[in-house]
């Protein structure tokens, strides 16, 4: 809407801000900023499970709200679109949808099995110097880079 932000914040500004957010949540509440846990609690809320950690549901809502403020209010709004530009250039929608769905199911299952995702292990776990988080992070970085390479070869360099 207002076009106040650059197309992408420089990493040396965004990174330290994220670092301070990680520290901030530990300082206030002794909790990691993990996002998969927020999904688990939100789905628990909808399924009326007992013992739902409510603040993680608010955290889930907050992610949406913060994203909305930055991408549609503070920055020029890209509007309603499909997203996945690079993938859509290579594949028709009939291939893109099952790819995205399959990838998302895999990453959700993997995050639950590992006990966390890019934020919980990759950021907050490594910041705590946890050997388990370092192992998870090294593993997912390696398989993600390898998978991307395989996709690139399989599409003849198009992706």
């Amino acid at each position: 809407m207002f076009d106040l932000l650059p197309d992408r914040l420089p990493w040396f500004i965004g990174g330290p801000i994220l670092g301070l957010l990680i520290v901030g949540l530990f300082v206030l509440a002794n909790q990691p900023l993990g996002a998969s846990g927020a999904y688990v609690q939100t789905s628990g809320l909808f399924r009326r499970q007992a013992g739902v950690v409510k603040w993680r549901v608010w955290y889930f809502v907050g992610l949406f709200v913060g994203g909305l403020l930055v991408t549609r209010v503070l920055r020029e709004d890209a509007g309603v679109r499909s997203g996945y530009d690079a993938l859509r250039e290579v594949f028709p929608l009939g291939v893109t949808i099952p790819l995205v769905l399959g990838g998302a199911i895999l990453l959700g299952y993997g995050a639950a099995l590992a006990g966390g995702c890019t934020s919980g292990h990759g950021m907050c776990g490594t910041a705590q110097r946890s050997p388990a988080s370092l192992a998870v992070t090294a593993t997912f970085m390696a398989t993600a880079i390898l998978t991307t390479f395989i996709l690139r070869v399989a599409t003849g360099g198009a992706l």
Partner: protein, 155 residues
């Protein structure tokens, strides 16, 4: 204000700030994550590394000095040993991450930015988490990352 309410407000604010940073870094775009994993540009690796460089020493100092948090007791960091499920889960997560070009937090920002294929990705993540949850039965607190036993709040 009860501690539970305070924690809810903190959750909303920290979620919004985190979502805002992810949006400002364009991490809600498939193209950003794909370019990172293609090793075309180092920016997102540097973004993650600089966040850790800032947070790790501060957390270490706070823990060493026995800092007591207002809502969660004494600050204690988790340092679990790697087990097989970490490696298996991490491996599957990485493959899915590369194919879907998003992960749990950026997927929500993707939705708020108006990218409609997030309506495929977000339910997919829920399904994946749920499939694992069904195997485990009743472990309701997975997914937070490294996490000491859940903090019990005084109401």
């Amino acid at each position: 204000m009860s501690n539970t309410t305070k924690l809810n407000v903190i959750g909303l604010i920290f979620g919004a700030m985190f979502g805002g940073v992810l949006g400002a870094m364009n991490l809600h775009e498939y193209d950003t994550i794909h370019a990172m994993l293609r090793l075309d540009e180092p920016d997102i690796f540097l973004f993650m590394a600089s966040a850790i460089v800032v947070s790790a020493p501060l957390l270490w100092l706070l823990e060493r000095n026995g800092f007591t948090t207002p809502l969660g007791g004494e600050l204690r960091l988790s340092r679990s040993k790697p087990e097989a499920h970490h490696i298996k889960g991490g491996a599957l997560f990485g493959i899915g991450w590369a194919i879907a070009g998003t992960c749990p937090a950026p997927a929500l920002v993707m939705f708020s930015s108006g990218a409609m294929l997030s309506l495929i990705a977000i339910p997919g993540i829920f399904i994946g988490l749920h499939l694992r949850e069904r195997q485990q039965r009743g472990v309701g607190h997975s997914g937070d990352g490294e996490h000491r036993d859940l903090v019990t709040l005084s109401k």
